[in-house]
């Protein structure tokens, strides 16, 4: 209880910034860019950067990127993934995270997941355009898939892809429905519900388009794996 009180948040009025989340939880605080003004984003980012924290901003518009880069020269703008990030943590373990995407239009979300995982120091393998309508394209990666520690599966128009992948591997699967598609895809709720419904065991799901959430959850798993490997090998 006491320890908690030693870590006050910095209060910017519109936001309370957590300056030692990385030490406390092992994963630095992340700025969710949507719904904040470029000025607010830049202020929070600067506060984190000044305190020696790594900075990851998701859903960053071009305007936000401009505002932040004026303050933090070294930050990098990944346009397709709408991510701003300082240098990723170094890779310190060998538990690889796979990111599968069903179609070309799922790439922005897939890249958000991949870059998030890399930001937290994970090796990532990208397996793109492997939708189930041409199942052979996915099966060609069967062996590669079986060597991964976690697989993030991103799909907007075919909610069963995670189930198919789950049948090919024995590691945890994180599914991300995307809002691409038209008509009955309903901005992602159809693949979301389909991912929930289909029978694949070992699959759990994050919010529509939430590439960050999947990358973050995958990184929590690999961090635990790394800890397990280290603790016993000691």
């Amino acid at each position: 209880v006491k320890a908690r009180h030693r870590r006050p948040h910095r209060d910017l009025g519109f936001a309370k910034v957590d300056l030692d989340r990385q030490d406390r939880c092992g994963q630095a605080e992340v700025i969710f860019g949507s719904g904040k003004t470029p000025a607010q984003i830049a202020a929070i980012a600067t506060e984190l950067h000044r305190n020696g924290q790594p900075v990851l901003i998701t859903r960053a518009t071009r305007q936000a990127a401009t505002a932040v880069r004026r303050k933090i020269k070294s930050i990098r703008w990944h346009e397709q993934a709408r991510i701003l990030s300082t240098r990723p943590a170094p890779v310190t373990h060998s538990f690889r995270i796979g990111v599968c995407a069903a179609g070309t239009s799922d790439l922005p979300v897939a890249e958000e997941a991949a870059l998030t995982a890399e930001f937290y120091g994970n090796p990532v393998e990208r397996i793109y355009d492997v939708g189930v309508a041409g199942i052979d394209r996915l099966l060609a990666h069967r062996e590669q898939l079986s060597t991964l520690s976690v697989v993030v599966v991103v799909a907007g128009m075919e909610g069963a892809l995670p189930s198919v992948v789950a049948g090919l591997v024995s590691c945890p699967i994180l599914a991300v429905p995307t809002s691409v598609g038209y008509g009955t895809s309903y901005q992602g709720i159809t693949p979301l519900l389909a991912m929930m419904t289909s029978c694949g065991s070992g699959v759990s799901v994050v919010n529509i388009d939430n590439g960050f959430g999947a990358g973050f959850a995958a990184a929590r798993i690999t961090a635990a794996l790394a800890r397990a490997a280290r603790s016993r090998s000691a």
Copy 2:
């Protein structure tokens, strides 16, 4: 216009019975059992039978079966499929209809489709328990699938099965979502929307649990194929 007037419907008050649909359209009238009382069903069935029409009753409850069999001794009750039917038409062509089902609980609907297709004189092949979560079970039927003229795909918990099948064959695919499943399957609307959304080309969809509709539509296609084969070979 005149011809139309020569074919009056028999009016039973609660229903107008079409007595020459088979001659006119090539496919006899079918009784949709749901929402009708056993007495109403028996009256319509008797009217058709007395006029030399074959009889097919879908969504028939046990009560309806009892009421009808009291009038038409020769009719057969397929309990799982909830179908009552007189002897199927003889098979007169070689265009086979496949019926795939994802899971055991999809069988009632799959059987409704298969029996309907057989009622109209088609050879049918059943390929059951081939859900995508264990993709190898489906792939084991790859060669068999490629020899079919139409494939009906029945699935309640995995809307992408029709797409996967569509990628393996070049014939038309008719997809039937079923209301099995729980939680987010929402009595079939999730697989229905997922079937609509997924990228498989050549797939079209019928109503939830509408095994009859798929079997009937498949039979329309094979009937056309048989006509095409006959007309040119003449």
Copy 3:
């Protein structure tokens, strides 16, 4: 299994292009333009064209059209249907596909279906502005309808049109709900559900606004009819 390995997809990073789909399945790969950048579309189209494949691009914006025509001079831009296509396959059989549209605002989707069917070498008949609110306009085409091999029915504000047509013909019907309309049409889900629900036998449904899907499925049926006719006449 071996044969499969001889047909590698060309991997462009963001997409794997299928270069012998036409030989393998009888229908060339199609580019779904939505969710891809003009540059991505142009790259895939060029790859296909360079390998002697016909090119069909759906949901093509004006920007995509400009980008593609810079690379493939001979491609044609159908603005209303949002389609880019190289020369259609020659018509080699006599199985005609009808395309009915309920109202003027359904024409973009109806044209997408019609042009897709023509791209695959089918003769097409267009029957437009035949909504059920003025049933005589449809009935005037009664005889014409009975000569078609497949009918695609496109409607946004009246989901029962496919059922009415189904009652007038004995061939397969493919229904396409459209997102035109306002208020309770809900971008097409109302006609979609109504098409599913109504009693017309022989009707199956594709995704909202999916003119391509209906045209493609219709072409699969006529291709089978042509094969049936050829095989027996041999």
Copy 4:
């Protein structure tokens, strides 16, 4: 303002009964049976009957019927329509109300509409089993339809029937969606939305299964017609 105070409601604690609604509005108060106990229904009915009011009870269960008939011997129980009513008002005008029903399973709601219209003294014509999937069955009634003053159209599986009827007549159309059907009919919301969406002019819609509401609204129109005819002929 004063006049209002001369018409107190009789307060039964759980309900305030309006004893001069017929004099005031021309249409007697009606008891909506659903959600009330048989005892409550019987108490309200007795109160109305004792004050010389005609009695109409909708959604009456068998239990309610038993309870009410114990108090009011002369009341009649229409089981299919779930209606209890005392003798209908005598027919005093010639404006006929038509009631069309798409299928056999729509009859309970259609009868609720027809009996309500008759209760208020209207001549009614029943036109049943005229779904659009066999359009000729409806067209056979074309002439009859054109002589009606109002048409109530009841349909659960084909929301476009009111539009088709609207195209054949020039009188007002009242549409009643029903909750029969399965799968995507969604207990009537699909036909409700389809009735709203389709282009038929002159159509307005009442709640799902609300046969009473349609019969009542139709009776308001014919009552106005009768007044118009009388007032001018004076």
Copy 5:
């Protein structure tokens, strides 16, 4: 049957124009502007105008107005109601249509209803800003309401207004939900369902924002009243 054939529609390719609807049904054809290009609208309008038909265009954008006025000088543009119309029919009867609107933002739809009713030769009374949250504003019109022949009630944020009005009058009520409002009004589906659900007798409902539909249906009723008055007074 013959008579029907004497009235061919003029076929413009994208639309079949009905040139004698007014003679046949008593109400001229109306152009629904939404989903049509300005050029298409102008072409249909010109065709009607040239054949001596009155012209009413709903959902007309400014672009459509410009295009039409270039062809038909005398047409008038009602911006708030998005209506283009030639001179209304002269008022030939005394059955008044009331149009009530709950709030200021419901006025565009209310005006669409009022102008439509006037186009067909009806006297109209507008009663605006009478939402139920300040019930006295409505009650101040109690006497006026009781003299009307039909009441159109337009409301986006309070679905019970039609019910309240229905309790104050004995004529038919046509309710129009509007898409104004925010949050849980859901573009009009909330007032639509609330209008359906609430207990007011004699109320029927048209599509969201369908002021035209309500005005047209009201005009059908007053036309019948006028016929009734004339026929008997003869």
Copy 6:
């Protein structure tokens, strides 16, 4: 922080019982009966009773009532409201809570609210069967309403009743949608959304059928009023 630790919950394995909620918050813990077995309910109730706490059980089935009364002789079973409660707290202030109900079938929920308010020591006034379709029945209570401190408005078929009431008073209004009704009432979501949407100021809403929640929230307000009156009069 310390004080918190002095108040441990009693842990029954399946539930942690809060034994000094009344002292801490001024309102005793309440048992939500739904989803618990009669044995579980009886165990929790006995635990509270043994510790001198008053007992209120909502959503209590007859089975639960039997089980509890076996343990706590003095508890009373309010069947219509599905409530079990020990003696209410004595009334110690004069701030009255009104409970309005639109129709007879809303009474179970209205009584749940009224009995809850009484359990916490409040004087309650019941105003039942005052739906807006007969607005005069409500207006007859205008003066009475203006003397209340809080009004709970319970309605299943007319979401605007709270708004109408809000226009007649200046105290806080708590609205409770109920799941009575049929068709488009959708088990209460229609009145819930309509209550949210309508313009009445000072209205807030609780869950469907949540009479308890409204009664509890009303009691929080009157408790504050009583405190305010006491504190200043000191």
Copy 7:
């Protein structure tokens, strides 16, 4: 009844303005800016201002602000909250209203609530960025929360915040779901339903983004508290 007639609304054609609402109800009329043109807003505001009424305009766009400030120099534009208001009423009591907001993007709605409460003369305490994902940030305000008279809780991505707060205080809680968030937040319906569903006692909910409604309802409660305090202290 008479008194009512002495307070006529000023009728501007498109709106009836209530000029003595403050005297009658204790709370001045408020202009809901959405759906009205800048000119309409300015006309209503001027009418109120000219009659000595305070002016509060919600959902005011920049255009509306410009139009109004041209007429009423002293009015102030709160851009983030989209509010225009004349000088707030002076604070005359000590019942404080708390406004909690879960995240930075909820601030526009939170400020709408806070400014509304201040407009009606209430002291307000703002507690921002206290989402439940970092529960310690909220718990740090535990003591402060327990001193408030009403708490407004604003949250778009976490519907349980009001319940958590309700467990920490014994005063009434008004919850406001906001439309921020993405994917499954569905423009606020997810937090709305979650707020309804969660078990917190004493919580009631207003419409999505309806900061004004919550501030207004809170002000009704504190006004009653102030009256209670005054009346007894007299």
Copy 8:
């Protein structure tokens, strides 16, 4: 590819049973009891048992339990969790799985998760009745939570519980919405969407009531942790 062919499924007609899934994937095949007849379940279970596989049956009714126990004497029936299972695998590692449940009525689903995890050889800690409305009950487990390797959070009425837990730990969180609750909980879709929407990082979600899925996914993670610990310590 070859290895795959050595493992044929046993085909029972209605199901293909996977007899070496445990060897292949490390987790034995599980029988989903819902939608299968007791006879079908018993047949599959016997097939697995005869081949030396452990047996786990979820959603098992009492009828199924009777049928299976007739064949497999040693199987155990967990009534509350609706699970039938043979002896769990022995615990061979120290990575503990926590199962939190918000309320008493969530226990059946929580137990399904806990028993599944135990079946696969995991130590499990149950933390029940820790809903957020009384946050101190959860906070009392803060230290215990921080020692777990995975946390399964089960909640039906408060979708934010997983987020609160996620803020207290740094391990992966698996959230399970349940269908308990009433009104706006909508059989679990409200907590499902709320869990998706809320900001907690490291949370992913499985289907409504899918305790098995969460237990299985948790077991996949701890199995990987155990492998990681073993592999490095070697």
